[in-house]
């Protein structure tokens, strides 16, 4: 069983999540050449080792989260940047709980 550290719900079974995978910055469609656009669409690093990737917690908080995972051993750890968008709030519930207990 693989547990993913959801910053909102805590550790949950990987089967609750949809795998979005590696993402790269989207080029500006107006400025990118067809070759650049297709590289963005199709080429992947497909790293063998630690990656920071996106998952969707479809059977939980229904948020997109960042998780670090080793693609050969499937070990997981919390990403240093768990949310895709920086927010002005005090952090996720899990982070708040840790801050309160620590």
């Amino acid at each position: 069983m693989i547990l993913l550290p959801c910053p909102w719900c805590g550790p949950r079974d990987a089967s609750e999540f949809g795998h979005v995978g590696e993402s790269s910055p989207r080029p500006d469609p107006a400025a990118a050449s067809p070759a650049q656009w297709r590289s963005y669409l199709y080429l992947r690093a497909n790293t063998c080792g630690w990656v920071a990737e996106t998952w969707y917690h479809r059977l939980g908080c229904r948020r997109f989260i960042k998780v670090e995972r080793h693609t050969e051993t499937n070990e997981t750890r919390e990403s240093r940047q768990p949310r895709l968008q920086p927010a002005a709030d005090a952090g996720s519930p899990a982070q708040q709980a840790r801050a309160a207990s620590g």
Binding site: S15, H19, S39, Y42, R44, E72
Partner: protein, 431 residues
């Protein structure tokens, strides 16, 4: 050490490589003499004309056809494990050519034809059983795709047709064809030339045929780097020493990105594990290969009576080859939807192999922007059935310096040109 011992007894017998025959089989059986080795190990030379990375069916077939069709014998096949340790020994050994695009159908049809005469070509029993292949349709959209596939297949001269439940019942009486099933069977694409083969025998047969023509097969030799200067391949670094060469073929599955990275070539590949399982042997009752896209499962019965189950790829990318309990639970449920009579059959084991998925579910074959670095990768869940035709085409590509017609549509440049070959509707069960 055992390899050396085998090598010595082989040279002693004086008949290396042995020609297999019925008379030889009887003689060996009566005399209890050990069989001579199928091929001889060699030390790694400092240079080769061609270095093939990956000792699976693709790499070994390319080496065999380089030697047999083009007379290029200064070839090394490298594998970090033993030959056939990767996808070639982990697939479910199903062969078929009922694809969706004309390019795909022509390509896989050539492969089935090469497989049909492979035992004679290699003097090695590959146990090809053309028992027929049924792809079940559980909904209108699958049935529509199957009609489309059948028409494309017929135009390309491939035996393929859509049949109804009555005909399915005759071919596979153990299937639950009642209306009460959760996913009732509406029809099927029937492909009589499809079947199963002994995948290890294909690997060993190609290895033996290539080695007999002078190819060196180096097992447990991992590639650690590829030297590229001036936009051309110069050498391959391995755990057994450096090899100077001007031509490298990346024929790996699962690790194709890592090998391509060494040469500085980016690939549109993501690697997923695919799990399979096998049951205890039971009496022969299943004479065709059964595939259900909706249920993500394919089933065949081996010559030993075991039922081999395969599925779609795992739900996330990984280089891990560990099985999961979720998979086996899901698989068992899906198999029982199709064949409720199997509820008491026990599973013997499960395993996983790595699949390099491409965006269009077609392979990537031919030259790359780096001179002398060729790829035969991106084989997703359909690489084994294409082994012979890929080997033949890549050998042609290496010998002539350009992609032959049969693989022209599968070049790496199609992703920058936007000319994809969409095979998702026929290549995968998990969509």
């Amino acid at each position: 050490m055992s390899q050396l011992a085998i090598g010595r007894s082989g040279s002693r017998s004086g008949s290396y490589p042995a020609r297999y025959s019925a008379a030889g089989l009887i003689r060996r059986g009566l005399s209890h003499k050990e069989w001579p080795p199928a091929w001889r190990p060699h030390p790694v030379k400092p240079s080769y004309d061609v270095v093939i990375v990956g000792g699976g069916v693709h790499g070994l077939a390319a080496a065999y056809y380089l030697a047999a069709n083009h007379g290029i014998t200064d070839v090394a096949v490298l594998d970090k494990g033993y030959i056939g340790a990767g996808g070639s020994g982990r697939n479910t050994a199903i062969l078929r050519s009922n694809y969706l695009t004309p390019e795909g159908v022509r390509f896989y049809d050539r492969s089935v034809r090469l497989y049909q005469r492979l035992a004679a070509d290699l003097d090695y029993n590959v146990m090809f059983s053309q028992r027929g292949h049924l792809t079940l349709a559980h909904n209108d959209s699958s049935l529509r795709t199957m009609r489309w596939r059948a028409e494309v297949n017929k135009l390309e001269g491939v035996d393929s047709e859509v049949i109804g439940p009555a005909e399915i019942k005759r071919l596979a009486p153990f299937l639950d064809l009642s209306d009460a099933a959760r996913y009732p069977v509406l029809g099927a694409l029937y492909h009589p030339p499809g079947g199963i083969i002994r995948h290890d025998a294909v690997v060993w047969g190609y290895a033996r045929g290539a080695a007999a023509r002078g190819v060196h097969i180096h097992q447990h030799t991992e590639v650690t780097g590829i030297d590229v200067t001036g936009g051309r391949v110069r050498a391959v670094r391995t755990t057994q020493g450096d090899i100077a060469t001007r031509t490298v073929l990346n024929a790996t599955a699962g690790w194709s990105t890592l090998i391509a990275d060494m040469a500085g070539v980016r690939l549109p590949v993501t690697t997923y594990p695919l799990q399979a399982a096998v049951t205890e042997p039971v009496k022969p009752f299943l004479s065709t290969v059964i595939v259900s896209g909706s249920l993500h499962v394919y089933i065949s019965q081996t010559d030993r009576g075991e039922l081999v189950f395969g599925a779609s790829v795992d739900p996330f990318t990984s280089y891990s080859m560990r099985g999961s309990l979720e998979f086996i639970e899901g698989l068992a449920g899906h198999v029982l939807e199709l064949m409720p009579a199997l509820s008491k059959v026990r599973l013997l084991r499960q395993w996983a192999g790595l699949c390099d998925m491409t965006p269009d579910f077609s392979p990537i074959m031919g030259p790359t922007p780096v001179g002398g670095f060729l790829v035969d990768v991106g084989w997703g869940t359909y690489g084994f059935k294409a082994g012979p035709v890929s080997g033949e085409a890549m050998a042609d590509c290496i010998a002539s310096g350009q992609s032959p017609e049969i693989i022209a549509a599968f070049g790496l440049e199609r992703f920058t040109a936007g000319a994809l070959v969409g095979e998702k509707g026929a290549a995968a069960v998990g969509h």
